[in-house]
Symmetry: C2
Subunit: 308 residues, 2 copies
């Protein structure tokens, strides 16, 4: 990655009909972006990033210039958004204006990672009060939300993370069981559900511990994104003997749930039932390092770049 400085003349910036110009304030770093850094001929669910081009991703900013009747100049380093990429901005803008939450939450708790947690738990996990859920990467952008929603729904929540400060945070969230997977063997526990973001060895251990009819909600496998020697999962025989369901999902298929999700989440926030830990790094020049930290678990909470 390369930091490139380009001068723009805001005053005279040419905007085609329908285009807008945005000054970015927060940029979101998300694990899925690693999947887009690939050779263009490898097919996947989302198109690859183009070499030598600016990365695409989510952000929060202010419209500073508009040639689009639907988007008035309102609030915020500068993205030129062509007309055909402006969809969803109005809805986001409205949701931000209605909510008391910090704007940056719309990249995390109230945005894509929060929606992943909400959809994965409700639609696939179908949690029943009294069940136990185990969450790996439990202090991450998605995991912390899953755990807190699960508590609201009356589940017993066990979470693991790879760092004692993260584990302490899980305790603050009133998780019923927590451990550092790097320093602690997983003790005997049984669980009805498993929200998997890092897979690999953890998944293997968990497969031996799951209860009958447990569901494994697979929304990512971050430990496997950056490796050439993927971990081989040996305990899949449990899938048959325990009638397990392993279901993968991509949050992009579920944006029809965004309104219901944001409404519920805003309510939980107001009631003080949900906390959210962000890892905000200042300065776009620090984005590449922050992104690498995200892939190796050195971040703590939702990774965000704040443009100073």
């Amino acid at each position: 990655m390369e930091l490139v400085t380009r001068e723009i003349d805001i005053e005279n910036f040419p905007l085609a009909d329908g285009d807008i110009l945005v000054k970015n304030q927060y940029l979101s770093l998300d694990p899925y972006m690693r999947g887009k850094m690939r050779k263009p001929d490898t097919k996947s669910y989302s198109p690859p990033f183009d070499l030598d081009k600016v990365l695409q991703g989510r952000g929060i900013g202010t419209i500073i210039k508009s040639n689009n009747a639907n988007y008035k100049v309102g609030w915020e380093e500068y993205s030129h958004i062509p007309k055909d990429a402006t969809s969803g901005i109005a809805e986001l803008s409205e949701a931000i204006s209605k909510s008391n939450a910090p704007k940056s939450y719309f990249l995390g708790l109230l945005g894509m990672p929060g929606l992943s947690a909400y959809v994965g738990l409700n639609k696939i996990g179908k949690p029943k009060k009294g069940e136990t859920i185990f969450i790996s990467a439990a202090s991450g952008a998605v995991g912390q939300v899953v755990g807190q929603i699960a508590k609201i729904k009356g589940l017993r929540v066990i979470g693991s993370a790879g760092d004692d400060s993260k584990v302490k945070y899980l305790e603050e969230l009133n998780f019923d069981g927590t451990f550092n997977y790097k320093t602690c063997n997983i003790d005997e526990f049984e669980t009805n559900q498993f929200l998997s973001k890092n897979s690999g060895e953890t998944l293997d251990i968990v497969l031996n511990r799951l209860n009958l009819n447990a569901r494994v909600i697979a929304c990512g496998m971050i430990s496997q994104y950056n490796t050439k020697t993927p971990y081989g999962v040996k305990n899949l025989m449990n899938v048959v003997s325990k009638r397990l369901l392993i279901q993968g999902f991509i949050v992009g298929d579920h944006y029809q749930e965004i309104d219901a999700f944001q409404k519920d989440m805003d309510e939980w926030l107001k009631q003080g039932k949900i906390k959210y830990k962000e890892d905000i790094v200042e300065g776009i020049q620090n984005a590449p390092e922050a992104f690498l930290n995200l892939l190796t678990g050195k971040n703590f909470g939702k990774a965000i770049i704040k443009i100073c």
Copy 2:
């Protein structure tokens, strides 16, 4: 395993109230039995066999002596069935008398393996006309039934087996694509469903080939039953990126479907739409070797012992 000869006096065999005495004709060998040959402290979905006791399993025989008003002496080397284990025998007896199919089919096509095929495909696979299904262990007791039901439902059926004569049989069943997985690399193909009986390496290759939203119906993992070094499955990342569903099931949970299943299957048999390959070994003394052959893929079709 040990061949034990015991003399019984049929005439004076003592039967408690409700007990019956059965002369066995066919005994079923099934892969699940391997799972029951384990240390008693290992939990699983079905209780372990007891050391130094007769194996439990399915069979077809004739009742030769009865102290149970519901079971008249009718048809067969001798099982003493205590009263509380006689449930289901009346239903089986009635189904056999109604059907034109060979009696032994009630251990295969019209019995537990056939029901596995029917339930797994319909309830989990939820097949849509025009989709493609890939079946491993496709000439086995379950696989051959899945493939033929899938053809009836308008699917494109690809099957693999580990022996050229088995592959030839799959061609006779009009499968749309067949190959010997021991001698042939899996070519580029895409599939919407996967009926997995042997897992391991095949599953790994298939995970890279499955279509979006494909379902993996896991009813067994025969290649892994008899190994101390289970294969590590490396391509599970596809579960997320392709939104795959992997669902394990145990046919024992689905016996409420048996009537509907036997009715459909009898009809398909009458219409000549279904064939069934049995591997009938004569003589109970040959059962242990036949069972080992089943675990290493040397059987060809549903493994059955015929008691001479």
